[in-house]
């Protein structure tokens, strides 16, 4: 009797150990490279930022940085301005909820308009909200909400919030499944777990894929996303990535109206290792162009188009929270991912955002209570900023 009972337990333990080992393998033999001899250096532009989430560049070389607890900070030529920008709306600050992205209008130089995404409401009734406001240099004025996700939900997880401009001047942004409402990914009467596209005033573009269909939110651009973390347009191509559960973080090329499958298809499992779905493919559902298992927890993303790092020209850079690095993803002629390189792991922090600056440098945000804004420039670069503290990223450096 005792042997009979012990057998399933032993088998379960052996199989579970095997599955843990198996899931740690790269999914498809993608080549990985590590930066052994770095040809860059990392400068600290600003610190004492509380969970910074997004950085945006203004035309006059100033920068705006959001802090998730609900503050918008200005970084100018002297560094971080001590006083946060005033005039922000009330928002839900809890768990993953708070202030997310900031995006200057395409005509910011003349309009001084910025767009903010944030969690609106309370723990029981909340939504992702996008608002626009005018930044007068010290405060926000004329703040106007232009989008509030429907329906409201409870909880403080999976809001999405990353925004980007398409070439036609429309605004796209990602939402999340609220963690508890994953089936909403397949429901078109809700904004949850979608990529949404609106005009700059919040109205619906006439050429959105579901305009005019009964029972469908016309703002929806694509659906079946778990928790969109970044959007990067490149001409006619829109790249997006999203968090999977345990494994299955996805990099996608977004096709208007397409279904990306969550939660019907996924390369990840639940945090408990249970199968959220038995399927990785399903008719009518688009496959990712790449997926990360185990999860790297992708955050911000940028496409590098500058000659300051000629060797990085044309690569996608993906900030990684769990991996505490930035993935450089080379793109082939078709825009599909090739070799990947793990960068900036020497910083030793969760990286929340990565952006290409107008100066050709890469800018990073570390996701910590005392987070930093970092600038990556070529080593011994003649244009490196003087008098800035640097992170020694050489092997053995501190």
């Amino acid at each position: 009797m005792s042997k009979l009972l012990a057998l399933p337990l032993v088998a379960q333990i052996l199989i579970s150990v095997w599955s843990v080992v198996a899931i740690a393998q790269p999914p498809d033999g993608t080549q990985l490279a590590y930066q052994a001899e770095s040809d860059y250096q990392i400068e600290i532009v600003a610190d004492q930022l509380e969970h910074p989430w997004s950085v945006a560049f203004l035309p006059d070389e100033r920068m705006l940085v959001t802090e998730r607890p609900g503050r918008l900070r200005l970084v100018d030529e002297t560094g971080l301005v001590a006083e946060p920008i005033s005039g922000l709306p009330e928002m839900l600050v809890s768990g993953q909820a708070g202030l997310f992205d900031v995006l200057p209008a395409t005509d910011f130089a003349s309009s001084h308009i910025i767009y903010l995404s944030y969690a609106h409401g309370d723990m029981d009734v909340n939504s992702l909200r996008v608002a626009r406001a005018r930044f007068d240099g010290q405060q926000l004025v004329d703040l106007t909400p232009i989008f509030t996700a429907i329906p409201t939900k409870s909880g403080d997880a999976h809001f999405g919030g990353r925004m980007a401009w398409l070439d036609d001047g429309t605004l796209v942004f990602g939402t999340g499944d609220g963690f508890y409402f994953r089936e909403d990914g397949q429901k078109l009467d809700t904004h949850h777990a979608k990529i949404v596209r609106i005009n700059q005033d919040g109205s619906v573009p006439a050429d959105n894929p579901f305009v005019g269909q009964s029972g469908v939110r016309p703002e929806i651009y694509s659906y079946g996303h778990r928790h969109v973390q970044a959007l990067v347009p490149d001409g006619d191509t829109l790249y997006a990535h999203e968090h999977g559960p345990r494994g299955g973080d996805e990099l996608n090329k977004i096709i208007p109206g397409a279904n990306y499958g969550w939660p019907v298809i996924s390369y990840g499992r639940d945090y408990s290792r249970a199968a959220i779905t038995p399927f990785t493919e399903h008719q009518g559902m688009v496959q990712p162009i790449y997926y990360w298992t185990p999860s790297i927890a992708p955050a911000g993303m940028t496409l590098y188009r500058n000659n300051r790092f000629p060797q990085w020209q044309g690569s996608l850079f993906v900030a990684a929270l769990a991996e505490e690095s930035v993935r450089r993803v080379e793109l082939d002629a078709a825009g599909d991912p090739g070799m990947q390189e793990i960068l900036f792991a020497e910083v030793g922090k969760r990286i929340r955002d990565v952006r290409s600056g107008p100066d050709g440098a890469l800018y990073l945000l570390t996701d910590h209570p005392e987070g930093q804004l970092l600038r990556v420039v070529p080593r011994n670069d003649a244009n490196a900023t003087e008098n800035l503290q640097t992170v020694d990223n050489r092997p053995g450096g501190q």
Partner: protein, 164 residues
């Protein structure tokens, strides 16, 4: 406690943990698959069986058994042990009740202590949690049945009981 009863208690506890874990795994798989069926996905019997077996044997059981069931039943059965000292004739009821309560409380406690919003996603449906808790009930009954009378608190004569 006599040394000879310890192996039997350990065996009984392992059996209880395995039964509660496998039961919970089977239940949560059905809820996850039913959620997919609810949005129009066809789930064949074959897919249902293979997914259920996959959850039992490739990961979920180790997570659920290790993080939820094992500590929950350990605490619950220790409590039931002490209660059974005064009512040894109702030991099976106390252990079954303790097992049920252990699973019911263990899930939210682990969720609270972990950085994740929900370790077992299927328990976002309260009915799933309640049905998973029946595994704790079974575990209590199995524990008492295997441990047998002489390994648990029992009366040796009217008005007395023995702690082994």
């Amino acid at each position: 406690m006599r040394h000879s009863t310890l192996p039997r208690l350990i065996l009984a506890f392992i059996a209880a943990v395995v039964i509660a874990t496998v039961w919970g795994s089977i239940v949560q798989t059905q809820f996850n698959l039913n959620a997919l069926a609810g949005i129009g996905v066809e789930i064949s019997l074959g897919v249902r069986i293979s997914t259920t077996l996959s959850d039992i044997f490739t990961g979920f059981s180790l997570t659920y058994g290790g993080y939820v069931i094992l500590p929950s039943l350990l605490c619950a059965f220790v409590a039931a042990w002490f209660i059974s000292r005064s009512q040894p004739e109702h030991a099976i009821l106390w252990f079954a009740a303790a097992g049920t309560a252990g699973v019911l409380l263990g899930n939210p406690i682990v969720n609270y202590l972990s950085p994740l919003a929900l370790l077992v996603g299927a328990t976002r449906d309260t009915l799933c949690l309640l049905l998973m808790a029946l595994g704790g009930t079974l575990a209590g009954i199995v524990f008492v049945s295997i441990a047998r009378r002489d390994a648990l608190p029992h009366r040796v004569s009217s008005g007395q009981h023995v702690m082994n």
